[in-house]
């Protein structure tokens, strides 16, 4: 009975050599970032769509988990304050789903907002005389974030984790200027979160 040469080591070596299939690659086809149609660019993270009648639909890329995006409402541009707590150049700032105002615990400029429930954005032509609040320290609630005035703009689904804007209309007061504001979406065209968009425009003082 002849013995065969054991092929085992050779086969094993060959099998190990085949073990590395080609890499799938770091990124698939390089999609461009989603294209947002804008009439005017307010900065690297801000785009405006002019809806006419002094109403703008503004989209913010607030997808960073660390860097706020600061917006000045009077000229609709993004600003980069050195010290947001003292800098008066900004009115609103965005980080993911958080929205803060330059007032109260968030800043020194006294920007305040009033929350109007049960009204239609289009019907808000004059600012209310009262009801304005500034960002407050964290109160008795579940989170550990400051109690931003603009914190009730969404419904959160425990099932899908999706944020859906409510119909709440805010009136923001910055100095003598008043603006109506309503959140429109939290996701961009490609479905990425951290891209809030809102409809806004200046309105008459009370």
């Amino acid at each position: 009975m002849r013995m065969l040469a054991p092929p085992t080591p050779a086969v094993l070596m060959m099998m190990l050599a085949t073990a590395c299939a080609p890499n799938l690659g770091a990124g698939a086809d390089a999609d461009a970032d989603s294209v947002v149609m804008v009439d005017e660019i307010g900065g690297p993270n801000i785009g405006h769509l002019d809806e006419g009648d002094n109403v703008f639909l503004t989209t913010i890329d607030a997808s960073s988990e660390t860097d706020w995006v600061y917006l000045s409402l009077v000229d609709g541009v993004q600003v980069e304050p050195d010290d947001p707590q003292t800098d008066p150049s900004w009115d609103l700032a965005f980080l993911r789903f958080h929205i803060k105002l330059n007032g109260g615990v968030s800043g020194a400029s006294g920007v305040a907002a009033a929350q109007l429930d049960g009204v239609d954005f289009d019907d808000v032509s004059d600012a209310p005389a009262e009801g304005f609040e500034v960002d407050a320290p964290d109160g008795d609630d579940d989170d550990e974030d400051p109690d931003y005035v603009l914190r009730h703009w969404y419904d959160y689904s425990v099932m899908t984790h999706v944020l859906t804007p409510t119909a709440t209309v805010y009136v923001v007061r910055s100095g003598d200027d008043h603006y109506r504001l309503q959140l429109d979406a939290y996701y961009d065209e490609a479905g990425s979160s951290g891209h809030p968009s809102f409809r806004w425009g200046s309105i008459a003082a009370p």
Binding site: M1, R2, M3, L4, A5, P6, P7, T8, A10, V11, L12, M14, M15, L16, A17, T18, A19, C20, A21, N23, L24, G25, A26, G27, A28, D29, A30, D31, A32, D33, S34, S63, E65, T66, L95, R96, F97, H98, E144, D155, Y156, S157, V158, M159, T160, H161, V162, L163, Y187, D188, E189, A190, G191, S192, S193, G194
Partner: protein
């Protein structure tokens, strides 16, 4: 590269001229019939006994084993038309097949796939995704026999063998020369093409198997962009080699390589659409020298598993949520076992070492390892053979570098007062080690706003289980069996919302989930099976299973388990003409799921409708070497995209040529 292997192997095959003695095999070589009646069990035929190994780590006739073992032998695998392990086990009594992100899993005795261990020739496999070992990854062409043991086998195999053990026995050549080619084509561009060659000599046997399996995937809900069943293509090759009869020494080797690409499209609630691609590779190699004497046996098994998975997520219309991840999971295992027979006792002692390494991008730290060392001992005592009584106490001690020592004892008994009756009982402990994922996962999903965090402080989940079964063979043509089981699990690992304050990046609405050992669960049930052979050609079988489950921490049943389920089969085989026809079916009763669908903070129960799967297959032998077949899977077109992602009705046909 594959061509090289084939050439090397062909040279080995064609080199020697002489036809040696076939069948120098330690393992039984012919496809065996279980002790149930089958059409092939002719009245005067010598009984061919099925040999099983899983329940005791020693080779025993299925009817003599103190641990009830369910067997699919090669013939049953081929008759089923299954192309992989998942399809094979689909219509198994008391077994529920799950389909999800981790692939095709098995639920036994009402417990999730994470509680069942899948072995190849008794050695562990690796590469669970979502705690599921994907059964569709194991190609049928590699398998000689599948042995399924319900209930805990931690006493022999250690971690994860809590609900059950599935042991794949590799196919080994039985004839001096053998060759096989198999091709099947079906709906959804399903292609199964496999080839195999083998030789068996007095002291050497070898086989080489290669396969390609393709499907274009399917979509249960064409109204949305997402797909349900992934597109997939798999290539696999394996070899077995055995050198034997050198005095008491024999050495066997098995090695295999598998590569699979899968692709699916997922739409999410935010409107994002992802193309998700996985490239999975598995290497498995085992060397097993063994020494056989008249009353003793020593074997050493050294095995290595590599599971590599590349995952690419490509967001349509953006790169913001694109992801690329790579996972390397390596497992080395060395097992030594010594069996010694002294009069009415067979003593088994053994030691086991496992080393596991994981590199993955979703865990923190990105590279972790753990070791586990174990000793086990078992004594099989057969005080009397007629009536047959077997008492099988055993214990295993595992030491894990993370959570210390776990003892897992078991006592199993078998009594066969007459040839017609067999009773079995067992009581034992099982445990499941927390997975690396549960300990180290750090997965933030900013697109939907939650984070899942692993918990390195997790303990093992443990269980006490008992079972009792009876088999009755009133006549040669009828087989009846029933069993009851009870599993009590403690310290089960569940995800719980954790305090997010210490997570710096919890900037989204951040629900933070963490794994904790706070669960407690019970599953218990009863099962009845029957098989009847009529006129030696026709076999009818059926089963009914009742399972009661309870998740004590949540105060409700475990989700997705049917209380009632059953199987029914019909098989006709005419050996003279080589004609075969079979119908397999499984029926799953209503299942409950729980979710907070209306966002009121309280989970609602949702019930899914009962359903049945029916598979039909007909085959015909031609010219002695060729078997042609046609089949129809999921005749009733059961399934939906919501809670039951079953492949729709599938037609297929093909041929197997065997020499």
């Amino acid at each position: 590269m594959l061509a090289g292997i084939v050439a090397a192997w062909m040279a080995a095959l064609l080199g020697p001229g002489a036809v040696g003695d076939a069948g120098a095999q330690a393992r039984p070589t012919e496809p065996k019939q279980p002790d149930k009646p089958t059409p092939e069990d002719g009245a005067g035929d010598e009984e061919v006994r099925t040999i099983v190994v899983t329940g005791t780590r020693t080779e025993r006739a299925q009817s003599d084993s103190a641990v009830a073992t369910q067997v699919y032998d090669r013939k049953a695998i081929e008759q089923s038309g299954a192309e992989n392990l998942g399809e094979l086990l689909e219509e198994t009594p008391g077994v529920q097949i799950t389909r999800g992100i981790g692939g095709t899993g098995i639920r036994m005795q009402g417990l999730d796939p994470s509680y069942t261990v899948v072995l190849i020739d008794g050695q562990r496999t690796t590469g669970r995704i979502n705690n599921v070992m994907d059964l569709s990854r194991f190609p049928a062409e590699d398998i000689e026999q599948v042995e399924v043991v319900r209930g805990p086998s931690s006493v022999l195999y250690g971690a994860d063998a809590l609900a059950g053990t599935v042991n794949l026995i590799s196919r080994r050549p039985t004839k001096p020369h053998e060759a096989e080619a198999h091709f099947a084509y079906g709906s959804f561009n399903t292609i199964d093409a496999t080839t195999r060659a083998g030789l068996a000599r007095h002291r050497y046997s070898a086989s080489l198997t290669a396969g390609m399996h393709n499907t274009d995937g399917w979509d249960a809900d064409p109204s949305d962009v997402g797909t349900t069943g992934p597109r997939s293509r798999q290539y696999n090759a394996s070899t077995t080699q055995r050198f034997g009869e050198f005095g008491p020494l024999a050495i066997s080797f098995r090695g295999g390589y598998l590569r699979r690409d899968t692709h699916r499209v997922d739409g999410t609630a935010t409107g994002a659409v992802f193309d998700r691609t996985n490239r999975t590779e598995v290497i498995q190699a085992t060397v097993r020298p063994s020494l056989d004497w008249d009353t003793a046996r020593f074997s050493l098994s050294a095995s290595y598993n590599l599971f590599r998975d590349q995952f690419l997520q490509d967001q349509r219309g953006s790169t913001e949520l694109d992801q690329s991840q790579e996972t390397y999971d390596q497992l080395g295992q060395v097992t030594a076992q010594y069996d010694h027979e002294v009069r009415t006792h067979v003593l088994t002692i053994g030691a086991d070492a496992q080393l596991e390494f994981l590199n993955a991008s979703r865990i923190e730290p990105s590279s972790v390892d753990r070791q586990r060392y174990a000793i086990f001992a078992q004594s099989e005592w057969t005080p009397t053979r007629a009536p047959r009584l077997v008492v099988l106490p055993g214990v295993r001690l595992d030491y894990d570098t993370f959570f210390g020592i776990y003892p897992t004892p078991r006592l199993a008994m078998m009594l066969a007062p007459t040839r017609r009756w067999t009773f079995r009982a067992s009581y034992g402990r099982g445990y499941r080690a927390p997975s690396f994922r549960e300990m180290y996962l750090l997965f933030a999903n900013p697109s939907v706003g939650y984070t899942v965090r692993g918990n390195p402080g997790l303990r093992a989940e443990t269980s006490w289980s008992s079972s009792f079964s009876a088999e009755f063979l009133p006549w040669r043509w009828m087989w009846l069996a029933a069993n009851v089981f009870d599993n009590r699990l403690q310290d089960t690992i569940v995800t719980d919302t954790a305090d997010a304050s210490d997570t710096a990046d919890a900037t989204d609405v951040a629900t933070l989930f963490e794994y904790v050992n706070i669960g407690e669960a019970t599953t218990r049930g009863a099962e009845a099976q029957a098989a009847v052979t009529i006129l030696e050609r026709l076999t009818l079988d059926g089963s009914y299973t009742f399972v009661h489950t309870r998740d004590h921490s949540a105060g409700r049943p475990l989700p997705g388990r049917p209380r009632h389920s059953g199987t029914a089969g019909f098989r006709y085989h005419r050996p003279a003409s080589g004609t075969g026809f079979r119908v397999r079916s499984s029926i799953l009763g209503r299942r409950s799921f729980f979710s907070d669908s209306d966002d009121d903070g309280v989970d609602e129960e949702r019930r899914s409708a009962p359903f049945a799967t029916v598979d039909i297959r007909a085959s015909q032998r031609l010219l002695n070497y060729i078997q042609v077949f046609v089949g129809l899977d999921n005749v009733l077109d059961a399934g939906n995209s919501d809670d039951n992602p079953l492949q729709p009705r599938t037609y297929y046909g093909g041929a197997t040529i065997r020499y």
